[in-house]
Symmetry: D2
Subunit: 424 residues, 4 copies
């Protein structure tokens, strides 16, 4: 999705296209739905819509357009997420109290800022400065991240309502594809390189490309499936501390985890809650909504391990970037295979794959200057890296070098497992 | 508000009148506003609208009309507030996650249940059983309580939004009346009686009428005013432990109380948040939104004390029941006097008055049978009695013997102070 | 225990006698035992020994003897319990970190202050001012309260140690007496008086004597026994919300209460932990270590109620003050009867009896002047009154008018139940 | 500290020597001091003494000597720290309630187990099995870790007592040595190896030796000094979010950090609490008792960074293992230099040095079999690596490859900072 030297029209089109997806995703909600924050980790959908807009207003319009008239000066306080260096902000856990601005006002805010950005681009004409291009690009990448969060958050919010609302109808057209058994693919190690290089957009946390030594290893051809994970449950995995990290075992006991988030055991077997409502658990689908702790415990129980992020990137970097993304509108990991020519399947989309790598900066990396330096760098502690995107990620958002990161106990993301192993 | 032996028409009319006030009060809100639960003590307005409806459905239609078809069987779980004996219920602190049923569905639910009740009454014709009358009456009293809560909860919710939304425009027509100075009225004590007697509705907690010995005492002619309370603040009252109960002082330090809820000090003086937006503090208005702890500390600092509920009722029981109620649509305590012929002014309406009496059962009292026995009796611990109603109470809801009760640290109710003193 | 006009010798003797009991009680402990604070409600035994000493130092020696040299100036901070008006103090919940002063130093501190008080008395000779007498008296009453707390706290602390240490050996000499069945005694009501009058010591919270109207009632002849309480448990009382106050039911669920504190069910039946170690539950002993919530729920389940404190005092005020007190060295409620000539048995000693009365001030009461006004008055909120003393109370400490008070959820005191009933 | 093929005498001597240090360290405490657990992270000294003994009893005597008679069967429950796979254990945060066993019993327990181990060795004579040697070795390493913890915990416990007790007198003989300025030492990178190899003891987490790619870098010659850290404080470092990781900034605000643990600002300048009491802050001493968050923020403010653990080990691995260890009995980081022939000074002892490396397993590592596999591996999440030992570490306990690890917010360890930098 390189945007260097694109014509203004192309940048404007891209802007309109990505921005309008947010509204399309929100259009399936009722106004009441846009208010919910069922736990501190999630944000109300309305807040996502406003915050992504504020990002363009704050970092582009207010900085670069002296004549810009802010939509509402208080929105700086309301819709700043966590940029400490540019001022105080509304507490994260209290986003659910903001019934005003109403959805209608938020839509007006979005239109106002869209108009501002598009006018600014038009004004520059052929000569959009690189800095503006970069800021718009990062703003769009940011919006795509929040589109994914909007869906994961709606799923969580709805799961807390005993009425179990549906976000949307199931795409009945989706056809179950055949799927091969999981095998282990040998990967050569050695002194390899990982990290972003070349043109096009990348986040600061993916750079610079750098050398890493890898011992030879094996990587599973597929993500772990529900059926495999169910074996772990039925073998008593959640009752046996020997598989678990200390913090993980503490979480199991404190949170009373007995299965992945959204699973429910009934007399009629296992069910799982999805964005299309609760449905019978399909044992062939990739397991989803597991924490790092569960992924790690499952791996240890299996006699395997999780891959490092370098192993993941080295093995998968050259596989075609295709898969079950948000564009498929399944909003759920599916059965079926991609990458017909590669022995590694389903590397992208479906579920984010936990790696064994803590999220840290790459050697000699340089965070962005100014407030945007807070975008990624300040989270480089107590989080684990996930790779590959999910069924609610935009296809145009993901890259081989893309690093997602969450705390080890988080389960509301579409997070799954791919196993690895040392070569003996 | 006696309803014994009323004709069916009168009962139906009353039902329609009280039920429709809920919708009128909610009509000033946007759908997003009806979702907010800014702290566990408050409920989302939508929940109030549904819960009051469920009360009629559960205790009348389901019990008394075998052919009644429930609107949605899951509503029993969603909208039961705290009746343990009739089944489990949605956790109180999580009412804010219920985006569904939507407001439209809740309105349909209300219409469905209204229709059910009115049909039932029509069916009975002239022969409405006493039990049905009683249940409808308690349901309407219950709805009036929730109408008051809806307003207090909206006020609290809106105060947490930095945009400080207005619930409604100020009634500009309200004219400032003159007001006399506070004096102390001598009241004879002796062996007196308090508690409800006679006909008409009363809650079980107001009965039976019973004897109480009172020493002679004095009662203030007016509730304490903002200006008087400000003197306490300016004298350092919030920094001096000697005025405070132990639990009160702990609350002052933990909550960092420095003034009543909703007050804000600016360079331009004191402001207070109201249902018509933030406005300059009027020193002559009754002080409002103080906890029992603050009322008690203020009284001690003043060299006075709070009255017991028996003292309050004995002194005020015969004063005409008039005042600034919800019907005035001020939604705020005002300057001005009532009861021109009594030395005691403003006894009803404006602000609930904290008494020094813990909320306990009257001697030989009998709670209601069955689940409705949970209505009042089970809260008779760790709460204090308030008397007199407020500017958001319905005129038809209050009585001389009416006992309101809240925990000593609660401040979001329209709660104020009237002082008393021993006769020397 | 009147001390007015006693000769100095008698006051000194009494001082020595009561002070030395603290050391006698502590002598059964190892130094390590004196450090434990197993929950915030309890204090380490060493702290009790030091705090009671500080009370004499701070309120008498420092105030009345200009030449007094404090033992250690920092002890004012360490051993002030809660007197806000005389300065800041070490946080209550952190008393367990004070390994220094060591026990040896605390004993030296006690000797230093004892010497100071006795010298002061000797100096006054025949002319001890009333104020000094009063302060010494209150200091001794205070010490007796902490002697009781020391025992209740040691019991709690030891119960948290899986080794279940014994505080002392069981008094094998204690002989099981016979005991009659519980009956209900009719008590005339009317306009009665309660509260302290006459000479001798009383706390400010017992005064003044005042009129109360009582309807005729019945009071149980005996406290509730373990066997009776066990019937409540076996009938499912802890699983049935209908018996419980709302706050009580919340406590049952949060704390997972299934039986009184210290009870334990084994394959071999019920056991209870005592200061002489764990022993088989004796069904005839008074039930002990129940909260107000449990007492209240048991009463409701029984079709009875708890007495008010006025009912208790009116019925029991004239019964001889005898019973199973700390002097008996059983440290446990026992089987057997007292008051052979009264139909009401075991009114004093054994277990404190929860009343249905919230702890509030008596009409026209006057708290003590100065810091000692904090002794009782500031706790008059959110606590319930208990009457009659227990097996760890000193015989000389209790009176018919004595008011003990604790929060409704506390169970580590020796608290039990006596039932009452309206006369029909 | 290789123990392979040592004669039995040498192993026994070593056992006696290390075990007796625990008692020597404890001998400066009063029995009351051995009870304190001033926060959940610390353990009472008595618990350390018992737990280290239990380790030998549980993993050697009970496993390998069928005729061994346990000292007290309940100690398995009381003194297991966290080995989930061998049974349940007393909750960590409640170790402070264990007044029994008393210190005398704990000493008897130590003697009993010492006797057991030494008898077992004697029985084997010349033929001590390798497994026994290994277990004794790990038990002794474990005891040394707890000796360090005992001192850090006593320091923390005493710091919470307003009397600020001294653990021991200051060693007056310690002479201030001269010290050079901090410079930056260039280190060649490349494909290097880290991790333990060779003979002698190492923990499973140090193995296997493996390849790591390092870019060329610079390492500071000295740890950061108090004076340098003070500049950060005075420049407002604790008020400027731009230096801090997100979790770090949250900790700063929640814990109200303004300076390292144990520092105190007075009118007379800065003081710090030490095991020899509070003393004036020496600006030339290494800064100590900082969290990883503070180390990281200081580095960023300085325009530098923390080294990775591979950088640390690669640069320091060949420097002589000398420094200010527990044997010096300073119990405090000191001024002065070591390693006269190396440009890198004070690499060992004084303060543990935070690295930028999260604590994870080495490639192809194998945790120990059985319960001892829980020793290190299960903590490999949410912790950061520290290197080099401190002034309370035993000289014989540390190695170039030794990996210590703590959560990023911990400050009660003797943890300091050494800076690094990329070569430009």
């Amino acid at each position: 999705m390189a945007i260097e030297h694109v014509a203004v029209e192309r940048l404007s089109e891209q802007f309109i296209k990505i921005r309008s997806l947010s509204e399309k995703l929100a259009s399936k909600l009722q106004n009441e739905d846009t208010m919910i924050q069922a736990m501190p980790d999630v944000s109300p959908p309305k807040w996502h819509l406003a915050h992504t807009t504020w990002f363009f207003e704050r970092f582009i319009l207010k900085e670069k357009n002296p004549s810009y008239v802010p939509f509402n000066p208080k929105f700086d306080y309301l819709f700043n997420s966590y940029y400490e260096t540019i001022g105080s902000y509304h507490p994260r856990h209290s986003r659910g109290v903001l019934s005003r601005p109403s959805m209608n006002e938020v839509y007006a805010y979005r239109a106002h800022v869209n108009e501002g950005i598009l006018s600014l681009l038009k004004e520059y004409g052929e000569h959009v400065p690189q800095e503006i291009e970069d800021l718009i690009e990062i703003g769009l990448q940011h919006e795509q991240q929040h589109q994914e969060l909007l869906l994961t958050d709606v799923k969580y919010n709805f799961s807390c309502n005993p009425l179990l609302p549906q976000y949307t109808e199931m795409v009945s057209a989706h056809q179950q594809e055949s799927q091969s058994q999981t095998s282990y693919v040998n990967i050569e190690g050695g002194l390899v390189e990982i990290g972003f290089t070349g043109t096009g957009f990348s986040f600061d946390n993916e750079r610079p490309r750098h050398k890493v030594w890898l011992n030879a290893y094996q990587l599973a051809s597929h993500p772990v499936r529900n059926g495999e994970y169910l074996s772990f449950i039925e073998a008593g995995g959640y009752d046996q501390p020997e598989h678990w990290l200390s913090d993980g075992w503490a979480a199991v006991k404190k949170e009373k985890w007995k299965h992945p988030l959204y699973w429910r055991k009934t007399e009629d077997g296992w069910y799982t809650f999805t964005l299309t409502g609760e449905k019978k658990l399909n044992l062939d689908e990739p397991v989803c909504h597991v924490s790092f702790y569960e992924a790690d415990a499952f791996a240890r129980w299996s006699g395997k391990r999780l891959p490092t992020e370098a192993e993941w990137e080295h093995a998968i970097g050259s596989i075609p970037l295709e898969g079950n993304f948000v564009e498929s509108e399944t909003y759920h990991p599916v059965v079926g295979e991609t990458h017909s020519k590669s022995p590694i399947k389903k590397a992208y989309g479906d579920v984010w794959e936990w790696t064994s790598s803590p999220y840290t900066s790459y050697p000699q990396s340089k965070p962005l200057e100014g407030a945007l330096g807070e975008y990624n760098a300040k989270f480089m502690c107590n989080q684990m890296v996930l790779r590959g995107g999910s069924c609610v990620t935009s296809r145009s958002h993901i890259r081989p070098t893309y690093r997602n990161f969450f705390q080890a106990d988080k389960r509301w993301q579409f997070s799954g497992i791919r196993l690895a192993e040392d070569q003996s």
